[in-house]
């Protein structure tokens, strides 16, 4: 573990504490979904705030604080995922990002009540489906559709073009819909 040197320009200690307390829960939740591992999520959270502390004096006023913090946090998560992977991505895995599912199941699950939709089991299915996305698709989906950033903000956070964000967003949304369609179809078949 390293100890961070204070920034060259003094910042308000109270200000930084406020930033940590305001953003730690949101950023931890985002990192947990990105990394699917509590210890890795905490490590990435710590690194995010250490980097934010080092650069906060240079940041102030240049952009939205939340966008800036999510950019640092998402980059930390992607670095963790790169380190976690022992072998390079196969060509098949890379090209899978450019395609939609081979079959799009036409299952309707609108008849299920909301309580059933948000059972612990269903929430686990939602989390598992996100974890199955590639990191590139997962980051776009979580920032745009779960954290609520605009498409333009998501592009800014990830350093992508708006068109690239839209392409990844479409693939991510349809893959998740497909995972839920298969889950709800199975649930409907096995219902007593």
């Amino acid at each position: 573990m390293t100890t961070m040197t204070p920034p060259s320009q003094p910042i308000s200690e109270q200000r930084f504490v406020q930033v940590v307390e305001a953003y730690a829960p949101r950023l931890y939740r985002h990192l947990l979904r990105m990394l699917d591992d509590p210890q890795d999520a905490e490590d990435a959270l710590q690194e995010t705030f250490l980097k934010a502390y080092r650069h906060l004096s240079r940041f102030e006023g240049r952009a939205e604080l939340s966008t800036w913090l999510y950019r640092i946090a998402t980059n930390e998560a992607l670095m963790h995922l790169r380190r976690r992977r022992s072998t390079p991505l196969s060509l098949e895995a890379l090209s899978a990002d450019d395609t939609h599912p081979e079959e799009i199941l036409l299952t309707s699950w609108q008849v299920l009540p909301e309580q059933a939709l948000l059972s612990a089991e269903t929430r686990q299915v939602l989390e598992d489906a996100v974890a199955q996305l590639s990191p590139a698709l997962r980051a776009v989906f979580l920032l745009r559709d779960v954290e609520g950033f605009s498409t333009r903000e998501t592009a800014e956070i990830l350093g992508l073009s708006v068109d690239a964000v839209k392409t990844r967003l479409a693939r991510a949304r349809l893959r998740l819909r497909e995972a839920l369609a298969r889950y709800f179809e199975h649930a409907e078949e096995t219902r007593p």
Partner: protein, 97 residues
């Protein structure tokens, strides 16, 4: 037997996925809506993709607890920072640490 989207409709997949939350350009939007008026399969796909987003947004409102003592571990790496935290802002386990 599960039904799947007909091959002829796969060209609308990207448009549908972006249409559900207002990310589709106006001209493509008009073209897709014309197709949706005559295609129940694609209408079902729009509905269930919207429900997918709804479910993820609803699930995201469930709170996620921070690990115990996470602030203390962070501030331990930042000398001089964290001493000004209010007792009210600290969880019990951290306040007692």
């Amino acid at each position: 037997m599960s039904r799947t989207l007909p091959t002829r409709c796969r060209r609308w997949l990207d448009a549908i996925a972006l249409y559900v939350d207002g990310d589709l350009e106006a001209d493509l939007c008009r073209a897709l809506e014309a197709h949706l008026r005559q295609c129940p399969d694609c209408r079902l796909l729009v509905d269930t993709t919207r429900q997918t987003l709804y479910l993820y947004r609803a699930a995201s409102r469930y709170p996620v607890d921070l690990p115990p003592d996470v602030h203390r571990r962070l501030f331990a790496r930042l000398p001089g920072v964290g001493g000004t935290r209010s007792a009210a802002a600290r969880p019990n386990s951290e306040a007692q640490a």
